[in-house]
C-alpha cells in the first residue's frame, strides 16, 4: 500500500512537473540556504581554530586599552602605552611566563631593486621567535648589540623573501623600508597557514628600538606576547600578568584595568561567536523560508485535492478507507517536499563549496545537518500535507463523484 502510494505520488508530481517545481521552490531555497550557511560558517570556524593552532595556544597578548575592547581594536586612546620595561618585568618577575617579547606592527612597502611589495613590518626582539615558536630556515637572529642600538638588521618571512628574491639568497643583501635601509640577516620558516585571513609569512622583523626610533618615532610598545611555561594554566598566567601590570601602571583597587590580556582561546571563541551569531541569523531567515515553503506545499496540495475530487470519489467508491486516502495524499506531500529537500541539499552543498572557495576557507559539509535537512523536509511535508490529506480523506463519496 505504501509502495503504491509512493508510485501514485510520483505519478501525480510528474504530471504537473512545472507546478511541482514551483511548489518546492520554497523548500529548495530554505534547505539550500541553511546548508550553505552552516557549511560556510563551519568552514570559517575550522579556519579560525586552525589559525589559533598556528599561533600557539600557550600565548598571551597584552595591549593597552579598556578590557571591553576586543584585541582587534586599536590602542586605547587614553590608556598609557606599554614600555620595554614592562616586557622585561613580565618576563623576569612572573614565574609562570617563559618568554615575553614586544611586537609593534605596521603595514609598509618593502623595496628591493625595482620590486616593491606591501608587507607587515614588526618591531620585536629575539624572543619573538621563541614566543611564537617560529624557527629560522636560514641566517641568524638579532644580536644583542643590534637590539640595543636599534641598528638596521631584518629577518624576512618566507612570503616576502619569495616576492623580493625569488630563488636567490637574500642573506647579507640590503632592502629598503620607507627611507630606512636594512640588511637581511635571516629568513623565517614558512608557517604555511594563513591566520585570520592574512598571510603570516608576509612579514619583516626588525629590532624593536629601530622600529620605535625610525618608524614610529616614540618609545611605545603596542603589544607584548607572553608565552606561558608548560604545565601552567592560562588563567593563572593571566592573573599574574594582570596583577603585575596593575601594580606597574598604578591602578587603584577600585579602578578598572586600562590594559587587556587576551589568550588565543578567547580570540578564537570570540571569532567563532561572531560566526555562530551570523549562522544563527541566516538560519532563522532560512527557517522562515522553509515555513513559507511548507505553506506553499499546503496550498498546492489543497488545490490538488480539489482538482482531484472526482478521483477521490472513485477511490472511495471502490472501497478506499479514510486512512488509505489520507496516506496517499500525505505521501504525495512528503515526496514533494523530500524532492525539494534533496534539490536544496545538493544546491546548498554546491553553494557552500563555492563560498568556501571564494573565502579560501575549508569546505566543511556536515553529514548530520544533511540528514537533518532531509528529515526536516519530510516533517514539513507531513505537517503541511496533513490538513489537505485529511480534507481528501473526509470527502463525501457521492458529492465527490458528482463533482465535475
Amino acid at each position: 500500500m505504501l509502495y503504491e502510494a509512493v508510485r501514485l505520488a510520483l505519478q501525480a508530481i510528474m504530471r504537473n512537473m512545472f507546478r511541482s517545481f514551483l511548489t518546492v521552490l520554497g523548500i529548495v531555497i530554505g534547505v539550500a540556504a541553511v546548508i550553505a550557511m552552516v557549511t560556510v560558517g563551519q568552514g570559517s570556524t575550522d579556519q579560525v581554530e586552525a589559525d589559533v593552532a598556528t599561533l600557539g595556544t600557550n600565548l598571551l597578548m597584552i595591549r593597552p586599552g579598556q578590557p571591553s575592547q576586543g584585541p582587534g581594536s586599536g590602542v586605547g586612546g587614553t590608556a598609557a602605552s606599554l614600555t620595554l620595561k614592562d616586557v622585561d618585568a613580565i618576563e623576569e618577575q612572573i614565574a609562570s611566563v617563559a618568554v615575553a617579547t614586544p611586537s609593534n606592527s605596521r603595514s609598509m612597502t618593502v623595496i628591493f631593486g625595482n620590486i616593491n611589495s606591501s608587507t607587515t613590518v614588526t618591531g620585536t626582539d629575539t624572543r619573538f621567535l621563541t614566543a611564537r615558536d617560529w624557527p629560522l630556515s636560514s641566517g641568524r637572529s638579532f644580536y644583542e648589540s643590534e637590539l640595543r642600538t636599534g641598528s638596521s638588521a631584518c629577518i624576512l618571512g618566507s612570503t616576502v623573501r619569495a616576492k623580493l628574491f625569488g630563488n636567490s639568497d637574500p642573506l647579507g643583501v640590503s632592502i629598503r623600508l620607507k627611507q630606512i635601509s636594512c640588511r637581511v640577516i635571516g629568513v623565517l620558516e614558512a608557517k604555511g597557514a594563513s591566520s585570520f585571513g592574512t598571510d603570516q609569512d608576509d612579514i619583516v622583523l626588525i629590532p624593536i628600538r629601530a622600529f620605535q626610533r625610525r618608524i614610529a618615532g616614540n618609545q611605545d610598545v603596542s603589544m607584548i606576547y607572553a608565552s606561558i611555561r608548560t604545565g601552567i594554566s592560562t588563567d593563572k598566567a593571566k592573573a599574574d600578568i594582570e596583577r603585575l601590570m596593575r601594580e606597574r601602571r598604578r591602578i587603584g583597587p577600585f579602578e578598572e584595568d586600562d590594559f587587556n590580556v587576551f589568550d588565543m582561546k578567547q580570540i578564537s571563541s570570540m571569532l567563532t561567536g561572531i560566526t555562530s551569531v551570523l549562522t544563527g541569523l541566516l538560519s532563522a531567515v532560512a527557517a522562515v523560508s522553509l515555513l513559507v515553503g511548507g505553506i506553499g506545499i499546503m496550498n498546492i496540495m489543497l488545490v490538488s485535492v480539489t482538482e482531484r475530487t472526482r478521483e477521490i470519489g472513485i477511490r472511495l467508491a471502490v472501497g478506499a478507507t479514510e486512512g488509505q486516502v489520507l496516506l496517499q495524499f500525505l505521501v504525495e506531500s512528503i515526496v514533494l517536499s523530500l524532492i525539494g529537500g534533496l534539490i536544496g541539499i545538493v544546491l546548498g552543498l554546491g553553494l557552500g563549496l563555492l563560498g568556501s572557495r571564494l573565502l579560501s576557507i575549508p569546505f566543511a559539509p556536515n553529514p548530520s545537518l544533511v540528514l537533518a535537512a532531509f528529515a526536516f523536509s519530510a516533517l514539513v511535508g507531513i505537517v503541511f500535507g496533513f490538513f489537505p490529506a485529511r480534507r481528501a480523506a473526509r470527502m463525501d463519496p457521492i458529492e465527490a463523484l458528482r463533482h465535475q
Binding site: R310, A317, A320, T321
Partner: protein, 256 residues
C-alpha cells in the same frame, strides 16, 4: 483498517451469512431527506424492499423519483435519514465510514452512467484499483485484472487509457473493475445512459451473463424499457416511493 476481518471476504457470491434464508438486501421504511427547512427535499419517503441473492432487478421511474438516492444507500455510499437496512442479514445502520468502505470493497461493484474511470490511467490500472485497497499482492492483482478485462472482451486493450477507448469500451472497463473483486452485488445507475443502442445491448448482455453464469446480483437503474427487459424483476419509483414491483412475463424471449 479495523473491521477488516469482520467484513473480510470469506468465499464467493452466495456464501454470505443468510440466517433463515433472509434476503441478501432488506430495506424497511427507508427515508432520505436532503436539506432542512424550506430547502428540505424528501427524496425517499419510506422504502420497503427485499432483494434475494442472484436476482437481476431493474429500477425505473421518472427523473427525481429517488432512484439514484436509493442506489447510493443500497451501495453504502450514503446513509438513510430513517428506516433500516440489513445486508446479508446484518444491520448496517450503525456502521462507520470505514466499515462501509470495507463493505463496498468486498461485496459490491459499481457501474456508473459516466463510467467514472481514473483519467490518464490504463485500463489495467483502473481495474486493479479495488484490489490495491484490498491489499492484494501485485502479481495476483495483475492476474485477476487481466482475467476481468478478458471477461468483458477487452483483451489487448489493457494498456489503453480511458481517452483512447470508446464509451462502450470504457463502460466495459468499469464493469471489469466492478467484477474484479468477485462481488455479490453490482449496482449500475443508468449504465447505458451514454451509449448508443447497439453498445447498450452489448453491455446488457454482459451484465446478464454475469448474473446468469456467476450468480452476481444486479441492481440496475434505467430509463429505457428495452434495457429493463433484460431484468427479471422490475421496480417502479415515483415520488420517493415504490409504486410497483413486478416480475415481467419472460415467456417471450428477448429479440436481439
Amino acid at each position: 483498517m479495523t473491521g477488516e476481518s469482520t467484513f473480510g471476504k470469506v468465499a464467493g457470491p452466495g456464501a454470505l451469512p443468510s440466517p433463515d434464508g433472509a434476503p441478501l438486501i432488506s430495506l424497511r421504511g427507508v427515508t432520505k431527506i436532503y436539506g432542512t427547512g424550506d430547502a428540505e427535499v424528501r427524496a425517499l419517503r419510506g422504502i420497503d424492499l427485499d432483494i434475494n441473492g442472484g436476482e437481476f432487478v431493474a429500477i425505473m421511474g421518472p427523473s427525481g423519483s429517488g432512484k439514484s438516492t436509493a442506489m447510493n444507500i443500497l451501495g453504502f455510499l450514503d446513509k438513510p435519514t430513517g428506516g433500516s437496512y440489513a445486508f446479508g442479514g446484518a444491520e448496517v445502520d450503525h456502521l462507520g465510514r470505514d466499515q462501509l468502505a470495507l463493505l463496498r470493497r468486498n461485496f459490491l461493484g459499481f457501474v456508473f452512467q459516466g463510467y467514472n474511470l481514473l483519467a490518464r490511467t490504463s485500463a489495467l490500472d483502473n481495474v486493479e484499483l479495488p484490489l490495491i485497497y484490498q491489499g492484494m499482492a501485485r502479481t495476483e492483482r495483475r492476474r485477476l485484472a487481466l482475467d476481468a478485462l478478458a471477461k468483458v472482451g477487452l483483451k489487448g486493450r489493457e494498456d489503453h487509457d480511458p481517452s483512447q477507448l470508446s464509451g462502450g469500451q470504457q463502460q466495459r472497463v468499469a464493469i471489469a473493475r466492478a467484477i474484479v473483486t468477485n462481488p455479490d452485488v453490482i449496482l449500475a445507475d443508468e449504465p447505458t445512459g451514454n451509449l448508443d443502442t447497439a453498445r447498450s445491448h452489448e453491455i446488457m448482455d454482459l451484465l446478464t451473463d454475469l448474473n446468469r453464469k456467476d450468480g452476481i446480483t444486479i441492481l440496475m437503474v434505467t430509463h429505457e424499457p428495452d434495457m429493463a427487459d433484460y431484468a427479471d424483476r422490475l421496480i417502479h419509483f415515483l415520488d420517493g416511493r415504490i409504486e410497483a414491483d413486478t416480475i415481467p412475463d419472460k415467456a417471450v424471449p428477448h429479440a436481439l
